[in-house]
């Protein structure tokens, strides 16, 4: 097993395989099934300043080729996360933690960053500027390059020693522009992509299956679209890209490296196959040369 550690900004991760935000909650929940410390890390459920109750059920809906979700950022809020969830997770030595956060205003982002700035026990922040399941704010931020640059800057300034990832939306004409804005603002990586906006209807009621109508589409169906967005980001920026979307096999993960990613996150497929992230780690570690040959220089993998 060779060295497949990677560097993203100021932080070194033991390998490039993560679990995507929202999939494994605060990660502790998945500890019976996944050896979390074998992964590059986990991205915990997006948290906000205050707790959120989330959307009315139903919240998920299976399609033959993926799923729609309308969780609506239910989360315990910053305080309980910092006081309870993170310390709990930190009891397991050696688990890389990326903290996903969302906020409605620049001010809130500053507050969040300042809260995390002096802390330990996490590797960095992933800013969710792309959740389609809450009213306006997050998705609109992620579609506005000026705002993306500004938010990246005000957060990065406050956590210079941590890794800052900006999670981008695929629901946009030109993801490259947003990625470039994040890079300009000092982000250490682009996490691409969040879910695609989709909708399904219940033929019996004639209504959308979710109370909010539209929802987020994820899973195997979106793989080629996610690869495309990573490919576009790779042409637009020179910071590392963390590829996300539709990964259901080791080969799917490999394709993200070919598209220009430095790391990947497993999302929806974890539900079906909780062993997948570890198998991807094993497959990559079996042949570190393969990864190293494809790693973009920016990511400075182990020489």
């Amino acid at each position: 097993m060779g060295d497949i550690s990677i560097q993203i900004g100021p932080v070194r991760f033991k390998n490039p395989v993560f679990i995507a935000s929202g999939i494994c909650g605060y990660a502790e929940e998945y500890s019976p099934l996944v050896n979390l410390s074998r992964l590059g890390g986990v991205v915990t459920k997006t948290i906000t300043m205050l707790p959120r109750a989330g959307n009315l059920p139903p919240r998920i809906h299976e399609m033959p080729h993926g799923m729609l979700n309308s969780i609506g950022l239910e989360n315990v809020g910053l305080d309980r996360y910092v006081n309870e969830k993170l310390p709990q997770l930190n009891q397991r030595p050696d688990v890389g933690v990326m903290v996903s956060v969302a906020a409605e205003t620049e001010d809130e982002f500053i507050k969040l960053a300042e809260r995390f700035a002096p802390m330990d026990g996490y590797a960095g922040l992933e800013l969710n500027l792309s959740c389609p399941n809450v009213k306006g704010e997050a998705l609109d931020q992620g579609r506005n390059p000026q705002l993306v640059e500004k938010i990246s800057r005000i957060v990065k300034e406050r956590i210079p020693k941590k890794s800052l990832w900006i999670k981008v939306t695929p629901n946009i004409t030109d993801v490259g522009t947003v990625a470039r804005a994040a890079e300009q603002g000092g982000a250490d990586a682009i996490a691409a992509v969040n879910t695609l906006v989709g909708i399904d209807f219940d033929l019996e009621t004639g209504k959308p299956v979710f109370a909010r109508g539209s929802a987020g589409y994820s899973g195997p169906a979106i793989l080629p679209i996610a690869l495309q967005k990573v490919w576009e980001c790779a042409k637009a920026v020179s910071i590392p890209i963390v590829g996300i979307g539709g990964i259901a096999t080791i080969d799917d993960a490999r394709k993200f490296f070919l598209a220009g990613a430095t790391a990947i996150q497993v999302g929806t497929s974890l539900y079906n196959d909780p062993g997948l992230p570890e198998r991807i780690v094993d497959a990559l570690a079996e042949n570190p040369e393969w990864m190293r040959a494809r790693a973009r220089a920016s990511a400075s993998p182990a020489a």
């Binding site: 494994c24 099934l33 707790p51 919240r59 033959p64 974890l270």
Partner: protein, 272 residues
Amino acid sequence: MGEFVPARAHEYHARVLSNVRLSRRYFLLRLERPRDFIDPAAGQFVHVAVPTPDDRFFLRRPFSIHDCTRDAIELVIVEVGPGSQALRRAREGDTLHFYGPLGHAYPVLPEKRIVAIGGGVGLAPLYFYGFRAPGKLGEGYRLLYGARTREDLFLEHVALERTGVSLATDDGSYGFKGNVVQLAAAVIEEEPADVLFSCGPTVMMKAVQKLADRLAIPHYASLENRMGCALGACRACVVPTKLDGGSPYRTVCHDGPVFDASVLQWDELPVP
């Protein structure tokens, strides 16, 4: 919400021992019990990966443990959609992936007179509670089971014709004529109950809750919902409750599936 304690579940790859049809829509799936599969409690479930030769995407499907012996885990499954249909196609010797046991079970109440009310496939955990689980109670446990017709009383492979078990069919083709909640009211009329258990269609459990309210006794109901993780992580399977603590929502997979039914917002429950 108390402190979160992760499930004691593990992922298993187990051989199918047999897969037989019980009636038109029900089948009994027997899995080899993995050696380190901990003793489940009645009401707990397993989260089963649907085998798919052709790369269709499937979330796992939750199924109550209907029986668990030293050697086998038994599930009773009703064919309703693509997932259960694909499981119907599993054959002896195939390997299925699942994790469990998951969730909160029915409480073990040795001193109490329990009336358990099951409808359709909801019999599974109540059967397990009464006849096999560690909390098995014998005398104090009465099991009432209802279905639309005789045909739908699927459990002909187990002896339901014993003391403490009563059957009801809507059309009177077998046992009590009427719905199982009416039967429960009649039974309790004769001999009082301290606690009600229920598992079945939401409308049935809602009627049981009305009965519990009238009798002013506790009621434990086992809910269903669509699931992603089944570990309390994704917040997909929540149901609205009267509780608070940041959110009125509780997860069926981890806070349930068995709930103290008095805390549930019955009018807002999903009807899966």
